[in-house]
Symmetry: C2
Subunit: 169 residues, 2 copies
DNA sequence: AAGCTAACGCAACGATCTGTGCGTTCGTGC
DNA sequence: GCACGAACGCACAGATCGTTGCGTTAGCTT
């Protein structure tokens, strides 16, 4: 039932409904009653934040290639591929608009945690690594900026190039 | 009259109305009739895109300090200060959600053009400069990412630090 | 097995939004 | 001076949304 609602939201977003993404519309598509949605989520914003949390958490596995550079390159390419999906873009834009602060953070998912995991692993290997903050600035910043604010999301190759600009050498 | 509507939109956004930003609400605040807004803009999304275009175009003057590093540092600090305003944040989030692709591009305003102007000036001086694309990745990316997706917009000092990471030396 | 709580379906109401037709006003060009 | 078109105010109607109250069902505890 929760799964049906989530699927209905993603389907409606994929159909360019724009501001037509309302509780009754989602309920009709999911085959449940609008009352249930009002009770469980209360508003479109909270529903979208919930969908975004599910969508952006755990969908990208943390790679383990043996080196920080390899890990980050693979991870950045995966994120770029994910952000290139128009449906994902529509979900993020709608969540940002209706979900406020909570929705915005939901769009990040656990991606900064994934960065922290890779950096921690490199340090455990005895290597040196930039801070999580700087890595987020150099990778997540451009990745999300291009996806959201420009019509052209970055390619996986371009994402890999970001890693080369971040790491020395 | 157009100015009154724009002011009404910004006021309502500053009041955390959330999804209560509707055409009738804006019309009542601006002292005009909703019919006029429906005819001129058609939807909240187009209205927000219009407001965003006005807000994000020409509000930051291109500095001229004599060096590319100085120009970029000053410009980045100005943009960071601008993005730290909660009202600006609310406007961007609402525009992203309701304005679709058009609204998203409106949030960039002419900031990439400003970057291009500074880079062009450095080249006219005979100096070397990174491409506009890479500069946007290194500056606009982190600036916008932190403002939109995290609750903590970057400080002007942090923004200046981004320039040092971009330029060699 | 009986009771209880939580969750969902259902119907109805009030409020709000979206869109249309008509009259008026203001500015422009002949 | 006069005709014309664009823009706005106004009132109204259809449609949709958000909310409440009640009945029913499923699952869990005792």
């Amino acid at each position: 039932m929760r799964a049906a609602v989530h699927r209905a939201v993603e389907e409606l977003l994929a159909e360019e409904v724009g501001d037509g993404l309302t509780i009754p519309a989602v309920a009709a598509r999911a085959g449940v009653h609008a009352t249930t949605l009002y009770r469980r989520w209360g508003s479109v914003g909270e529903l979208l934040a919930d969908v975004a949390t599910s969508r952006f958490s755990g969908d990208v596995v943390v790679p383990d290639t043996g080196s920080l550079r390899g890990d980050l390159q693979r991870w950045a390419a995966d994120v770029a591929t994910d952000l290139a999906d128009p449906d994902v873009l529509a979900l993020m834009r709608a969540t940002l608009g209706a979900g406020g602060e909570q929705g915005a953070c939901a769009c990040r998912g656990d991606r900064e945690d994934q960065l922290a995991a890779m950096i921690e692993r490199e340090k455990a290997r005895g290597g040196t690594a930039p801070t999580v903050e700087r890595t987020a600035d150099a990778l997540l910043g451009p990745l999300y900026y291009r996806a959201i604010f420009t019509g052209e999301p970055g390619s996986p190759d371009w994402a890999r190039g970001l890693v080369d600009l971040l790491l020395p050498g």
